[in-house]
Amino acid sequence: MSGDVLLASAAESGCHLVPWGGAAQCGFPAPDTTIFDFNTLWQFTIAGITFHVTKPMLILWIVAIAVVVFFVLAFRKAKVVPGNMQGISEYGYLFVRDGIARDTIGKEGDKFVPLLFTSFFFIWVLNFVGVLPFFQIPTTSRFAIPVSFALLIYILWVPLGVKRQGAGAFFKGMTMPKDVPAAMYVLLIPIEILSNFIVRPFTHAVRLFANMFAGHLLIVTFSVATWYLFSPSVIGMLGSAASFTVTVGLTGFEMLIQALQAYVFTLLAAVYINDAVHAH
């Protein structure tokens, strides 16, 4: 059942725990991973490659434009005494610069603020559309999107480290921890290579993806349960109301997780950049 099909069936199907209004009884239509698949809205071919534009892709473009337009409008006519929009934007900027860049990387962090600022707000809004009516799919729950973000950070910090510290010093610092008996290096070097260069970018992407994926799946499960349990009977009313309450609560909780995960992704990006800029 794809996301589109689920939406259509939720609107018309009479699938309830207690059948009423002539509908048939059926088992709980538990949502599975296919709710993250969407039909192609539009496709075009460039140089023999066919691109399929789906809802998450469309949302990605809309969010990118929205974020750019918002901050251009906020900072276009910057005043000494900021208005509402400039005030909020400056608060966000200071949060990223002082809270993430300077705290993690230090004085040199200022150079990376544009990247971290973009990363934080872009990912936050991409997550946030998961609870926004009509969008209702966190774009980052499509694995390709966090993977491309994590790859971007990965291909930034590894060459940066080589450039700043020299290849030898950088890889030595990343794979050979100091003050360890020499015999331990037999064990430590493979572990450090695995953890710093293979597991690190992987978990960087999976952390964002899995949080959004799990959160969306939970909200959908309880939304479906609200409709499935609904019937004009005591048990139907109570069950449906309970599921609906949980859906609302989870939506609030999700909004917290969305901001937290955007922060965590950006913070880890800053930590990785710090590893490249400063020797261990």
């Binding site: 991973t33 978990t203 999976v206 952390r207 899995a210 799990a214 965590v264 913070l267």
Partner: protein
Amino acid sequence: MSLLAQLAADTTQFQVTGSLGSIGYGLAAIGPGIGIGIIFGQGVQAIARQPEAYGVIRQNMILGFALTEALALIGFVAPFVFGK
């Protein structure tokens, strides 16, 4: 026949159906569950002892939380990837 022997004789009745991934997720959540508890517990203690260091403590707390949580999340995603 003792209960244990009876259970052993009827093993076919105790087949597990459905996805083993859910059990795998349960196992994967134990370690990070304990770890996250320790991280936030110690973090709150640290903030209580030194409220003026709140910013630094919170940042490191969230960093530790994110690194620990990754294990549980891999456990969550693996059944979907390898389940079919």
